[in-house]
């Protein structure tokens, strides 16, 4: 099952994240092993988070929601399962490749070509049947979430193949490589994760609160803004590229504010201004936290896109904090909410440890806060001090260490949350298969009993 492997990857990601984070307590930690040096563990953490957790769980949600909203059965589920296996194999090979030192060197696209092709193939296997399911839908009228998900299904293969072919094919040279890598990374993290995450919010919030979505048109606005301008940000103000690129990035980042406002307003009006309602249900709680992270992350992106501020924050921990806020605070939180809603329905079972869901929520929120806040503050301090050439660089680097050490606590809390998440999913799967096995056993024994009775 897609969600389960995603949860395992999540744990792997947090393990790598922890190792990378501990390196800031003692630079010598695990440093003598080539595979565990910081420059390899960090991309391994980011990649297992993105490709191991975010994308497959997002795809799983996409397939489920498309089937649900279309009142259709998922087409060829076994093909999807093969695709998922292919994807997981690709990710595993890719992570090993990164640890072995065959990273491509482009951020968020580190997987070497052999892993990338497996991932791409696995995605196509899954997404194709998603499109078929969409096509076979019996409910012809499209709901808002379907726009987002349908676009997302196509988005990833386009950007992934473009970026991989251009960058690993070796036709592009010089700084154009870096620009394409930025473009890809932004399209993946802002547009793809944004499309799926918002689809989930627009689907589950009205459903779980039992209200109509406030406005299709606001959602349409958010949709268009996201797909048109979401992927154009992310080129830093001082990058050695022609000046129109950072300028365009800046303008589109400002337009991101409109997206954020449109989404927030829509959800706010849907719940009729009673955001407290979001606390009533475990899934909704995750969605609410995710929405808050989306709003803050979107506003922060617009603020730091300002060339003056970008100069300060560009090379600092602030950008890491912001990235974590969107990929984890927003997307992963929303995904948790969706998984906690979907999986019990899929398996027709309740979670074995409902209390752990609650604990996971608080751990995740505390973890995100403990990770993002210190790094954001530390990043700003670091950026301001970098502007003053009189402060020696080693002092600045050392000055960020206390912040980094606090953020390790955040990493740790998040990781504990992942253990709980996995325990709950594992428990559920265990129950499910035990129930199946018991009924199969009962059926089998019943037959023999009947046979005995007959004889």
């Amino acid at each position: 099952m897609l969600f389960f492997s995603a949860a395992v990857w999540l744990l792997v990601a947090s393990a790598f994240g922890l190792i990378a984070s501990i390196k800031f307590h003692a630079p010598g930690f695990l440093a003598d092993c080539a595979g565990l040096t910081y420059g390899r563990v960090r991309p391994a953490a980011v990649n297992s988070m993105l490709y191991g957790f975010c994308l497959p769980s997002g795809l799983g949600i996409t397939l489920w929601v498309l089937a649900r909203l279309g009142c259709a059965r998922l087409a060829a589920p076994w093909m999807v399962a093969v695709g998922a296996a292919c994807w997981n194999l690709g990710v595993a090979l890719g992570i090993l490749g990164i640890l072995r030192g065959s990273t491509t060197g482009y951020e968020n696209l580190e997987m070497p070509a052999y892993a990338a092709s497996l991932i791409f193939f696995g995605y196509l296997m899954m997404a194709f049947w998603g499109v078929v399911t969409f096509h076979q839908r019996r409910e012809r009228r499209l709901y808002v979430s379907q726009w987002f998900l349908f676009a997302a299904l196509f988005w990833f293969p386009w950007i992934y193949s473009t970026a991989n072919l251009l960058l690993q094919g070796g036709q592009v040279r010089g700084m154009a490589q870096a620009v394409i890598a930025w473009w890809y990374s932004e399209n993946l993290v802002v547009v793809w994760l944004g499309l799926v995450g918002l689809a989930v919010i627009f689907y589950l919030v009205p459903k779980l609160t039992g209200r109509e979505l406030h406005s299709r048109y606001l959602a349409l606005l958010a949709f268009w803004l996201l797909i048109l301008f979401g992927g154009s940000g992310g080129i830093p103000a001082t990058a050695p590229v022609p000046a129109w690129m950072p300028a365009l990035s800046f303008v589109t980042a400002l337009l991101g504010v409109v997206t954020v406002v449109a989404v927030f307003l829509n959800v706010f009006r849907t719940t009729n201004g009673k955001c407290v309602m979001l606390m009533s249900n475990p899934s909704l709680r995750f969605l609410g936290a995710g929405l808050v992270a989306f709003v803050i992350g979107g506003l922060a992106s617009a603020v730091v896109a300002w060339p003056f501020i970008n100069r300060l924050t560009q090379f600092t921990w602030f950008s890491i904090a912001k990235g974590f806020l969107t990929s984890y605070g927003f997307f992963a939180m929303v995904t948790f909410g969706a998984v906690y809603h979907i999986v019990p329905q899929l398996m027709a079972q309740e979670f074995p440890f409902p209390r752990l869901v609650r604990a996971h929520f608080f751990l995740a929120v505390a973890g995100v806060l403990l990770f993002v806040l210190p790094l954001a503050i530390g990043g700003i301090v670091q950026g301001v001090r970098l502007q003053n050439a009189d402060i020696p660089f080693t002092d600045i680097a050392k000055g960020t260490l206390p912040f980094l050490r606090v953020s390790t606590m955040g990493d740790l809390l998040v990781a504990v949350g992942h253990v709980l998440f996995l325990a709950n999913l594992g428990g559920l799967a265990f129950q499910f298969y035990r129930a199946r096995a018991v009924s199969a056993w009962a059926a089998a024994t019943a037959e023999t009993k009947v046979a005995e009775a007959v004889s």
Partner: protein
């Protein structure tokens, strides 16, 4: 938006527009970048491909993710114009008087010239003869082109020779991380291009100029804290081999300080990867003055004084004002 195909077209249109903006146009503009000639001399082209070992070092840099802590992009907030006196001429008294007069101009005026340390020191004492020792040296600084031109004119009128030098400024440059901002040309022959996104460690765009010695880099990779006090960089000992000394100590063996040295009878020898990486690091020298990012190189300016004004002309038109 109620039809699947329509939705597909919408997504396709949006992605195509972003693609043509940031992939196609980039490729058309940056992908076709060629070597250019430098300001210093039309015969010198920039960049030149890295030597073989340094090219392999780029791959070591990539494989070990050095770019996650080190950026290679130096920023610049603007350029200033320094007025450099190259020859004192015959009428030294008039030159000194003209200099002192220029130094009197209030700095906060829009056309303000500000005196640099040697001139500022001479402002107090009346003779100022020491001013003309050790030429060429920069004496005045201005942010305003006409004011700088006027000052040069005033100095040249006293039979001295003065010229304008372009000095890029910004916190990164003040830190000694480079002499001009990074430009796309710096990365032309690198694949992959790793401009970096973090400054956990210092910027490396110009590290080859700062630390030109291979031995420094090897030692720093093996024991960072021994070379830079208080460094937070992890050691890269897996790039080195610790082995028993054979008949003769290896000529490559690192000369380590006592606290990082191996036990007696052993030596630390860099592996091929370490040598390649060090060679790559020393090849990172973004110092060539280009027309897109001009600066006046002292030696070149002294040797070929006619070139410097050409460079200045290029500045006024080509350089973005606040980069």
């Amino acid at each position: 938006m109620n039809y699947g195909p329509l939705l597909f077209l919408a997504a396709f249109f949006a992605l195509a527009s972003s693609w043509s903006g940031f992939v196609l146009t980039t490729q058309l503009q940056l992908g076709r970048l060629q070597q250019t000639n430098t300001v210093a001399s039309p015969a010198v082209t920039y960049p030149v491909a890295r030597p073989g070992l340094a090219g392999q070092g780029l791959q070591v840099y990539r494989a070990n993710g050095c770019a996650y802590c080190h950026s290679q992009q130096v920023g610049q907030t603007g350029t200033l114009l320094d007025i450099e006196l190259t020859e004192a001429g015959t009428n030294q008294a008039a030159t000194i008087a003209a200099l002192l007069k220029l130094a009197e101009t209030p700095a906060d005026e829009p056309s303000g010239l500000s005196p640099l340390p040697p001139l500022a020191a001479a402002k107090g004492n009346a003779s100022g003869a020491a001013l003309l020792n050790g030429l060429p040296k920069s004496l005045l600084r201005s942010s305003n082109r006409p004011a700088a031109n006027a000052a040069v004119k005033a100095l040249n009128a006293t039979s001295a020779k003065a010229q304008i030098c372009i000095v890029p400024v910004g916190p990164d440059l003040a830190r000694g991380w480079g002499r001009r901002r990074s430009v796309a040309e710096d990365f032309l022959y690198d694949s992959p291009v790793m401009p970096g996104s973090q400054r956990v460690g210092p910027d490396l765009a110009d590290v080859g100029t700062r630390e030109p010695a291979l031995s420094w880099h090897l030692l720093h990779l093996y024991a960072p804290q021994a070379q830079v006090r208080g460094s937070t960089m992890p050691p890269y000992r897996f790039l080195f081999e610790r082995r028993k000394i054979g008949l003769q100590p290896s000529p490559d063996a690192l000369v380590l300080p006592a606290d990082a040295a191996p036990p007696a009878g052993y030596e630390v020898v860099p592996r091929h990867a370490a040598k390649a990486l060090a060679s790559y690091l020393t090849s990172l020298r973004a110092e060539a003055p280009l027309y897109v990012a001009p600066l006046t190189v002292a030696a070149a300016a002294a040797g070929t004084p006619t070139n410097a004004p050409t460079a200045s002309e290029a500045t006024s038109t080509n350089a973005p004002p606040t980069r």
